[in-house]
Amino acid sequence: MMGRPEGLKLIDENGRRIDGRKKYELRPISMEVNVLKNADGSAYVEWGKNKILAAVYGPREIHPKHLQRPDRGILRVRYNMAPFSVEDRKKPGPDRRSVEISKVIRGALEPALILEMFPRTAVDIFIEVLQADAGTRVAGIAAASLALADAGIPMRDIVSACAAGKIDGEIVLDLNKDEDNYGEADVPLAIMPMKNDITLLQMDGYLTREEFMEAVRLAIKGAKAVYQKQREALKRKYLAVAEEVAGNE
């Protein structure tokens, strides 16, 4: 949390947030799958000002071999920010934040994968943040999940994700960058919506018990709305494929 500019109000007298949203309103989200040629699966997500590309390679061979698991595949995740994705240029390469985020995203996606189906191999997920504006990890999870589906990796469910947070004393959905910088808390969450299984939950900030649970519940609602958008993006892809097939016949 940064030093807050004087007089900045994150919620105005009409209950509107600085970007005009209502308390429980998501930022505009657009999603597209199959956007890269080389990757086995890919997706591009714009979520507010976040611009995120995810790619999946695999299942594929693992080197060095001692990393192979004889009874199941392994999942590897690399979350990375482009140098120009943030206000001040970010030095290329992983920093501590990226390493932690890569790890928790892996933990958020792994429960959805049926890794026993491809022993001795790896599924690699690469998430490139091309522009960042708060909430990149949840947007990254949403994109990665689409890329996994696009790659045809067997999954129990599509993992969806969203954050809730606290700004100016109120619990709201889906913080943007200013709200994240000058707000009181951020609670990113991922879920497998079919069984209501929470696969990512973090909290950064300071909340009462009640506020914390309110934020968790709100983030779940947000993630379910994101889930619908993910399904629509996949449907568009299959329709496009179907049309193409029909056109070819």
């Binding site: 928790v104 973090q202 009462t208 018990r209 914390f212």
Partner: protein, 269 residues
Amino acid sequence: MSDQEVMASIMRDHIMNLLREGKRIDGRGFEDYREIEIKTNVIEKAEGSAWVKLGDTQVLVGIKVDVGEPFPDLPESGVMTTNVELVPLASPTFEPGPPDENAIELARVVDRGIRESHAIDLEKLVISPGKLVRVVFIDVHVLDHGGNLLDASGIAAMAALMTTKVPRVEYNEETGELTKLDEYDPLPINHIPVPVTFAKIGTAMLVDPSLDEEMVMDGRLTITTDETGHVSAAQKGESGSFKLEEVMYALDTAVEKGNYVREIIKRSL
């Protein structure tokens, strides 16, 4: 399967069978911590220190207080930084080298718990606004990995911080000269956040998992709360998933067990 994996599988069956009867492998109740032993001021060359034993787990935290520049966007605040070394002495699974993802996650969750509750009153650590502030280094040195490094590290960090002595300084704004005095103030502490970690195995939620339990757990959940009952950090770790009710249970239990651990920390000082 490798020998290790076969062992893990057998161990998992054994632990699961016991849990179905309501028992943990070391006989504890589901909400019981292992014995906690805290020795403070063990490193005289550090400004603060604490050696914590949590069952078989041993963690040593040393606090160094230096002076340096504040962050440009926070000119009126001291700086704190948390680092964890998982040295290979502590476990056959740790390897030499820079902190890996486990060490980094551990350091960042401990750090958030302390930072977000404003446990250290960083605003009192300014020497000259925008120019010179105290820098507090929290260095977690893990000595023996017997499970639940996160709680052990969080406990040791707070015990070390609460016994930290900061040398007074005289700063001459004009010459920029800084003189360290031989007088000491305690580090200003606002809150005592305590992380409480749960392992989920099958449907059981276990407080303070031992190494055996961690090896077979499905998922991990840590919730850090302070003496006011506020949450200052939460982290779902590893694979696995949690139901909403499990999160609620963990939250309530974290507050309760946090109070219990906090008393042990206070008694150690």
